[in-house]
Symmetry: C7
Subunit: 272 residues, 7 copies
């Protein structure tokens, strides 16, 4: 112990120590500078390549382009930053690869602790590979519902309608609901008074539905009248379904409901 | 460190370096081209083979055909893309198989992290092998309810009635509810005023049910009247069951309910 | 890389290559044919053996027969199909057993990923072995409630009353509720107005219950009157229990409730 | 491949093959016969031994007897059937012990997959060993509530009041609630109108409780009046507790509640 | 196979076999006898030692005594019974220790399956060691709430107020709520009509609270009036808190609430 | 077996055996005595050292002092008791360290079973190290809410407001909510009749809030009026926020609410 | 044993023992002193460096600065404290690295028990690395919602609006919702009487919305009127959306709702 203290004292008051410190400090700064430049230049080059590819005959769909571009930028920054960290640790004479190869209790603990990290990367890779969803799609992942902003190596970012950014580790993504692949179906339930004559009601609604596609371009085909959904002593509920382009069903339902209300009131049918 | 910097500088300013870079770039482009062609041609061939088989005496049911065709296309694209990735990594002199064989902490972490991937593939294989469900079936898997679009090696795609695409990792599929194997049973509950005479009501409903099968072709056999389900001071609830062809029970129930309402009102029985 | 390309070119334009391809194609077709025949013939033989056994003095209960027959057919198809897959892979010179013996990261991942498969098979074996339930029993497993259709090596199939087929991996079967082993007990609660005299009510119900067993053959013994279950300012609830043959309690309760209503109304007791 | 086909053909058309098949078939039948006999005889012997022991001075409580008898019969059938399976597999020249000793990926998967089986057996052993519950006890295990029918090596069977048989893997038994060890306590809440005078009410109830033990033999000691449980603007709720012999609290509460209602109405106290 | 059968036959018809069987049977009976005696005598001795210790100056608190006595008896019966089982297995020439040392698939499965058993014992040891709760304490563990009856090596037994015995594996005990360590606090909420004058109400309640400690010995100190808890258009809710000796807060709250009602009604304040 | 019995008999009737037993008994008693003394003396010394440190210039905050003192006492008792157990086991010639080093099935099971114990100790260490909470803080851990009484090596003890002691294994502590670090914010919602004029209401409340800080010292700064929180046809809800010293928000809210009610009623504004 | 006691006695009464104790005590105090100084000085230096960097052209965004500064201080204290602990243990001649390298049961248990600790550190590193959230952001992590105070190596601290500090282990952070990255969207629902004329209502609201941006600077662009959200017999609900700067949507919604109420009442439209 005392010998150690003695060595520490000697070490701290020699000039070489401080020169070495200065050198390390300089190297670290240079590495940080190079890292910052490499990341910015690399990201710029990736963006350019994708702009070129977009015009070439080999181009994928535009949807995949954005996803891949963001992913490559994400991978680039990982590679550069990790190289920088290893370089910095080397200036302090710490050998990272040796640490990783070393087994024992610590190795076991790290192996177990890192498994969710590895799972994140593997799942992330397959999400992009299988084109489960792309940047710009509207998805629901667990409780997060919104537009995909970025699919990274480890996390996926989803921006909800009200502006929150959900950052989801890829490994915890199980079931994905993608709203942007197929046309959506708007379900519009209207309840009228129970004394309404059903055949008349049906005729009126059918007449109303004929005019709709002209008014709303989000509609893929004329809505269809499904029939009486339920009835009791006070009301009859009828259902209309309307196929719209992806993710527009809420807006269409809102408009159709308002129009139908006015239409039925003109026809003298009481909404309940 | 300084030596390294020196080497980096030398390496960057030699002409051979840039020629090598150009060559690698070319090779990558060629590999990408071949990959794209291989996938498209392969998928086309698989589709043709299945068209031929469909007419041969050896043909499975049509239901299995679509499932197998989509699965083979899915496996093909995996095989081709992975070959491409290994080929590209080889041009950069990275040996993938060596990485996979290497043990240590990283190996442990990867082994654990990849287990859910392996589980996905094994479960996917058994889903197809055991014919749990096929492309086109209506199923419920966890909270996802809809028509199966594709059963892949790693994920199954289910499109719900309102248009969302659910992408489910095969490994997280536990209980599967398949609606398309057996005939469905529509349960139709009608509540009438409590002062209604039950025997008269039963006679009327029996009479009504006799005419039904002629009207609706989805009905497999005449619906049967089950009896009084419950009663209290204000109403009597009776239940009718109708066996329909798979997945049509909702539509049949809707129509029978509407017809029965009109029928009972004609007979002077008050619906409550 | 270039050498590889050269080899690929040579390989593709030699005649031997194509002859070999043709041969492999032929072999695969023959294997598929033999597989299809083997499965059908094998399943037929199993069915015959069980028909013979059913008449022999060694026969188990009929209930076990169907279960075992379906299970043996299920095992047969697994054995035949797996043999076929290994045979096909052999024609492509892929050694499966070698793959399975190989350790390393991949082996670890497969070992972990396959554990739920192994658990399925072990649990399935014990379900049949311990006769927990048989084909034809009404059971509840998790949220699936219905008639068992098949107990396979890996999955159990349960068909619900309304026609859905639930496919449940055996390994995820924990608590099983079997409705078909013991007689069922129908609980029939009747609520009458609070001013009703309890002793009179009891006498009337006792009288009513005496006649019941003659009317309904599902009843195992005369129902018993349990007494006042609860009461408040507006109503008195009394409970009747009736032991029926397995799974018939719902139907019996429905009929008894209707009869009792008419009976009590004749006696001038108001149902609330 | 062709050589293999040739060998298969030769093998199938030689007479020895068929003689060998016949022999194996015979052996299997003999093994099955012996198994069936061994199980029946063994179970009978176990039952006899327990009948003898019951009269000997060494006898445990009767409660333990039934449990142990059923468990030994269960273990016997496991041992006999497993011996039979190994014997049958031996006739096909398959060495089971060799399979179990073999390590590798398959071994890892089996080791993991079998852990819940082992856990079942260990937990089952301790349930019997620690006398947590015995055959005939009323218990609640998870959501299953009823009378224990059998405690086996791997599963416990509980029959609910309405006749369902719950089959529970021992390993998934965590907290057990046993109703048959200690006396039960019936909680009887009576709500009277808020204008009732509390001291008078207390006196009346005390008087009523004195007579009770004579009427009901399930009561262990006279019920005690706990006091006012809660009150608001419309009602006062008082609570009575009655200690009964195990599991009889529901019946006693039902009878006491009915008697108390009549008693209080005679005394002119209004039940609300 | 035939040779085996021959050997079995020879073995069964030799006299030595039956003599050996008789001997084994005798030995097993002797072992069982000794076990029964050892357990009873051992438990008696432990009880005596604790009775002696209780009077010695070295004695722990009485609370710990009962816990330790029950635990030692529990451990004793484990040790004796396990010795008996190993002795019985030895008479059948089965070597248990050899089984436990043997590795392979079975060993892996047993190692995993037994981990929850080991966890039970470790946790049980620490519960007693850290004096988390003792026999006689009122505790809540998960959903089980009641008086601790026994803390064993593997399970803890808790008897609820209504008489059920909860048997909880020690390993599944996470958070323990112990009601018997500190004094309890009774929260008494009284709601009065909203037109009540708050200062007058407060004065009255303060006056009422002064007399309380004399009446109820469970009260540790005079209850304090906390103030208006909430109010709306129809009522004002005030809260009183009363510190009582452990677990007596329910009874005290019940009595205080009834007394306060009478007191306030005498003072002309309307309870709502 | 007989030989063993013979040996047991010989062993039991030799005098040396009993002398040895007496010696062991004596040693155990001496060890227990020394243990009891060591724990008491050790705990006393720790307390003294902390009293001295509290006055020294090196002293940490008082909050940390109590935490560390209790922790050191906890560690001391663990160390002493474990030494005693090992010493006692040594007198019986059982080598503990040998047991711990031995591998095999038992080792695997113990390794797995003990992992939650190790996790408890590691997490406990970091809770103290990172100063997440200290003895005396009000915290919420899972469902336990109260004042921290002790942070031990394996468990943390939290006493709730109503007197229950929650004993929580450190390893099951995930999110900790600490109420004692920052000032608390009281949210006070007041609902007034919907016909109230909002500007007048605001003025009145602002006026009321100005006087508050003088009255209540728990207030850190004057409360602020947040505005109309919600409104409908019958009422307007306004919100006031008041920053108080930690954990005093409930009491302040109760007082402010009562004062505001009186104030508004004086001003003629009706509370709904 | 006796020999050991003798040795203990000799050891305790030699003078050297006490001198050694004194020396160790002194060393420990010196280490503690140096530790305290090192931590304070180190934290100060880190703060200074960041102040300098903030003005340099190399500076990151200010948001990252605070996060990194706090993280580096956190890492520093870990490194210093751990060095101190190892130094103190060395004075007692305990070799920590030897303990960590030792395998066996204990090693296995520690390896498993430490995995959640390792996971915490890995996840924490990636949270900072990927800039998921920074000190000062408003986030929701699980049930904790508030402002991030510190991102440490092992835990993240979030202060909620009402003053509670949530301390969350990094490894248990799955989905993060970050409110501070994108603009927020306020959803304002207003329900009016069902007899209101919808076109008039829309005109009025549109007129009202035009004036808003001038009044509230948190508004990013003029709010938009979305239309009729739902309607029934008693009311019509219309929705307005307003984009605000991050996290200000609640305040804006509160103000807009109050203004709109006054505006509509002036226009004679009845709020329901």
């Amino acid at each position: 112990m005392d010998a150690t203290l003695q060595k520490v004292k000697e070490y701290l008051f020699k000039q070489e120590t401080w020169e070495q410190f200065g050198l390390i400090f300089l190297k670290v700064i240079v590495i940080l500078l190079l890292t910052a430049i490499a990341v910015r230049v690399g990201k710029h080059i990736i963006q350019k390549i994708f702009l070129v590819r977009q015009k070439s005959p080999l181009a994928y769909s535009e949807r995949r382009q954005t996803t891949l571009m963001k992913l490559l930028q994400n991978i680039l920054s990982y590679v550069v930053y990790f190289s920088a960290i290893i370089a910095i640790l080397s200036t302090f004479d710490i050998k990272v690869t040796g640490l990783l190869a070393g087994a024992g209790i610590l190795g076991l603990a790290v192996g177990f602790g890192a498994q969710s990290l590895v799972k994140d990367v593997i799942t992330g890779f397959f999400i992009v590979f299988e084109d489960q969803f792309a940047v710009g799609d509207q998805v629901q992942i667990g409780t997060a519902n919104g537009i995909v902003q970025e699919i990274g190596l480890r996390t996926t970012k989803v921006k909800s309608y009200t502006g929150e950014l959900h950052i989801i580790p890829n490994g915890s993504i199980l079931v994905v609901i993608n709203y942007s692949i197929y046309n959506s179906l708007a379900l519009i339930d209207i309840s009228v008074a129970s004394e309404t004559d059903i055949p008349t009601l049906e005729e009126n609604i059918q007449e109303f539905l004929k005019e709709l596609p002209i008014k709303y371009e989000e509609l893929v085909k004329p809505p269809s009248f499904l029939g009486v959904q339920s009835f009791d002593a006070t009301q009859i509920v009828v259902r209309i379904t309307a196929e719209t382009i992806p993710t527009k069903q809420m807006g269409v339902a809102r408009k159709v409901r308002r129009d139908l209300k006015e239409f039925l009131e003109q026809k003298g049918i009481k909404i309940s």
